[in-house]
Symmetry: C2
Subunit: 139 residues, 2 copies
C-alpha cells in the first residue's frame, strides 16, 4: 500500500549518485550500476525516461555518460516521479453522468482528487538536494 516502485527508487539513487559524482563532466551507467548495485541494463531504461523528460543530458561514446541538466536544488521530486511513473491522472469519468445519478462514484472521486493533490503537493515541495542531504546526514 502506497509502495513506491523499484524504478523510482533506483532512479532517485542513481540521481543522488550522479549529482555527488559528476563534477564538471559526466558519469557512466557502468559506474552507477557498479557502485549502487543496480543492473546497468535496467538503468538504461530509467535514464531513457530521465533524458526524455529533460532531467539529465547525455554524452555518447567513450568517456561519455550522463549529467544533470539543472542543479539538485532546482529539481523537484515531482518531476522525477512523473518522468518515471507517468504524471498524476485522475480517474476516468467517461460515463460519469450516467453513473453519478445512482452511484457513490462522485463522492469517492472527489475525495481521491483531493488525495492526489495532497500527495502532489508533498512531491512538489521536496527537491533532489534535500534527498541528497539526507544521504550524508543519515538522519
Amino acid at each position: 500500500m502506497f509502495q513506491i516502485s523499484t524504478r523510482l527508487r533506483y532512479g532517485l539513487r542513481a540521481l543522488t549518485y550522479l549529482s555527488t559524482n559528476e563534477g564538471s563532466g559526466t558519469v557512466s551507467l557502468h559506474e552507477i550500476a557498479e557502485k549502487e548495485g543496480i543492473s546497468r541494463k535496467y538503468l538504461e531504461n530509467i535514464f531513457k525516461l530521465l533524458k526524455k523528460n529533460k532531467i539529465t543530458r547525455s554524452v555518447r561514446g567513450r568517456e561519455g555518460g550522463y549529467a544533470l541538466i539543472k542543479k539538485p536544488e532546482d529539481i523537484g521530486l515531482y518531476e522525477i516521479a512523473a518522468a518515471l511513473e507517468g504524471p498524476v491522472s485522475l480517474l476516468d469519468c467517461i460515463d460519469a453522468e450516467s453513473l453519478c445519478e445512482n452511484s457513490s462514484e462522485c463522492g469517492v472521486r472527489s475525495f481521491w482528487a483531493d488525495y492526489q493533490e495532497y500527495v502532489k503537493k508533498y512531491m512538489l515541495n521536496i527537491t533532489l538536494a534535500q534527498v541528497i542531504d539526507r544521504y550524508y546526514n543519515k538522519k
Copy 2:
C-alpha cells in the same frame, strides 16, 4: 502515479452504499452490484477482506447480506485501505548494512519513510462518514 486501485475504489463505493442503505438490517451484494454497477463476484472478493478485517459483518442465507460493524464516523479510511491493499510496509532493508556503506539507498529510504507517514496521516484523519458526506453534497 499514485493511482488508487479499482478494488479500493469499488470498496469505498460499496461501503458508502451500504451505510446509506442498511437501515437496521443488511444489504445483499446482489443489490450493491446492481445499484453501483459492479460485478457481484468481484464484490464477494472485496467483502471477504472487509469481513476478515472486521469492518463488516455478514448474515448468510436468504434475506442475508452485509452490514457495517461500526458507525461511519468511527471507520477511518486507513483501515479500509489497509484491509483491501495490505498495510503500509517500509522498504525491505535486509542487506542494508552492506549497501548503506556505498550506496544512496539510506537517504532515499528515510525520505520514503517520511512520505509514507505523510500519506498514512491523511488516511487516518478521514472517515467513511466524510466520504459519504461528499456524495450527498457533491462538492
